[in-house]
């Protein structure tokens, strides 16, 4: 079921990494010259999805298992041993067991997905992930009827994760999705960035990416996936249910109690970066159907 979703553009089409700057100048020139109406719109869409640099993506992370500072993960995550690695898939599945990382990779088709990434803290990036659809991994284990939710768990290794010594959250980090969300073609298990293996601070060796939800839903360094009948507990919701709901869909209309979610700041704009409007579902309108008839203010 790979390739069920395609970017409007892929990086290969238009944005070789070292040409970003050139392209920006070219687009600037196009816009200034007002060349061809249709082209102008397309150019704007391309501009919006221009990925952040490797340095930006890998130096500004929230991964509290390595500390609460944004640069802590880049500094300390080297200590996490990611090979060998296996993911326990259990619960309501036909073939429960430990799935080795190599075994998984052999069975999966890895593709590139350039996604917007919106943190609940009102900053955002665009990340060129490499990965496979979660749906494919779940199919490998065989989802049983009766399963309605998917629970995820991050590695819990105090000897390799210094942040676990502090009770910032109730460790281990856990997350969850409704099964239909988990099976949506946008939902990705990322194993790489910029065609390189995903660095530890970004959730090596494999992490979830749900681009229409706030970043904390996209749980890192997954060791366990459990299919359940009931809604599983999720870490931030346990820590503060008033501020972090189970769904946590990106929604400019529903503010975090402590800050507005109407706008966001793209990382990489420097000290004078402007804010930009946040888009409903982070711009991924194709997921709206999943929530038809639901009050998204109640189910935030």
């Amino acid at each position: 079921m790979a390739f069920r979703w395609t970017n409007d553009l892929t990086r290969a089409d238009v944005t070789p990494e070292r040409l970003f700057l050139n392209r920006r100048q070219i687009l600037g020139g196009l816009a200034a010259g007002g060349i061809a109406g249709g082209l102008g719109l397309r150019a704007e869409a391309q501009e919006a999805l221009e990925p952040n640099t490797w340095e930006e993506i890998t130096s500004y992370n929230n991964y509290y298992e390595f500390g609460t500072g944004k640069d802590d993960p880049a500094r300390y995550a080297d200590s996490l041993v990611t090979s060998p690695w296996s993911v326990t898939i259990d619960g309501l599945v036909d073939r429960p067991g430990d799935y080795g990382f190599a075994q998984i990779m052999e069975a999966m088709t890895v593709e590139e997905r350039i996604y917007r990434f919106r943190c609940v803290e009102a900053w955002s990036m665009v990340v060129p992930w490499n990965g496979f659809e979660l749906a494919d991994l779940l199919e490998m284990a065989g989802v049983q009827t009766g399963a309605r939710y998917v629970a995820f768990q991050t590695a819990n290794r105090p000897d390799q994760m210094p942040g676990l010594a502090r009770p910032v959250l109730d460790w281990p980090y856990v997350e969850g999705l409704r099964l239909d969300e988990a099976l949506h073609p946008l939902t990705l298990m990322a194993t790489g960035i910029y065609d390189r293996p995903i660095p530890n601070q970004n959730g090596a060796p494999l992490r979830l990416v749900v681009p229409w939800k706030y970043g904390f839903k996209s749980i890192k360094s997954i060791v366990r996936i459990t299919l359940t009948e009931d809604e599983p507990p999720t870490s931030w919701n346990k820590a503060n249910a008033r501020e972090y709901g189970f769904y946590s869909n990106v929604n400019p209309e529903v503010d975090h109690p402590r800050w507005s979610q109407a706008t966001e700041r793209r990382i990489g704009g420097g000290l004078f970066a402007r804010r930009q409007p946040t888009l409903m579902f982070n711009g991924y309108d194709e997921v709206a159907g999943l929530y038809e008839g639901m009050d998204l203010t109640e189910n935030f």
């Binding site: 509290y64 944004k70 502090r166």
Partner: protein, 202 residues
Amino acid sequence: MTALIDRFNGAARRVPTWPLYILCAIPGFWFFYLGLTGGLGVEPIKALEHKLGELALQFLIAGLAVTPLRRHLGVNLLKFRRMLGLVAFFYVLTHLLVWLLLDVQIVSQIWADILKRPYITVGMAGFVLLLPLALTSNNWSVRKLGPKWRQLHKLAYVAVLLGAIHFVMLVKGFQIEPYLYLAAILTLLALRIRPARRKVAI
């Protein structure tokens, strides 16, 4: 020990205050420079905001420490207290300006935040309380206000507490650092409470 403290007090008396204003403000300008040149990481706005806020709290705490140090250890830094307070205010003000101009940017959102977000309401209240204190931190005001000056400047205790509570309220999850600031402030305030005097002097 007493000899050491006396020597320290003697040395402190000879230190002029005005260069310290410049010296203590340098970190603020340094962090701004770092923010401009990439030294604060890929999201320099939040980083600068947080650095200035922390510096503000640190100088507020330093100012709060002057009286207990004198009373309990005999270390006399009284002549630096105005400087510490004004430098703290400089950091509170620049912290606020970074939040207004670089972080939130949008006027309607700024108002909404001040009214709707308790941690911002608390922080703003702290700033508003410090404003008259900064404006009256000069010899003319001390003379003019007389005993009322002392009364007025007790507002600092409330403002500092609000600053620490602002920090406690804004972090995500349970983090120890803001509680350390709060504990330091509560300790310094507690050290000011004099036991009721039994003996009447003179």
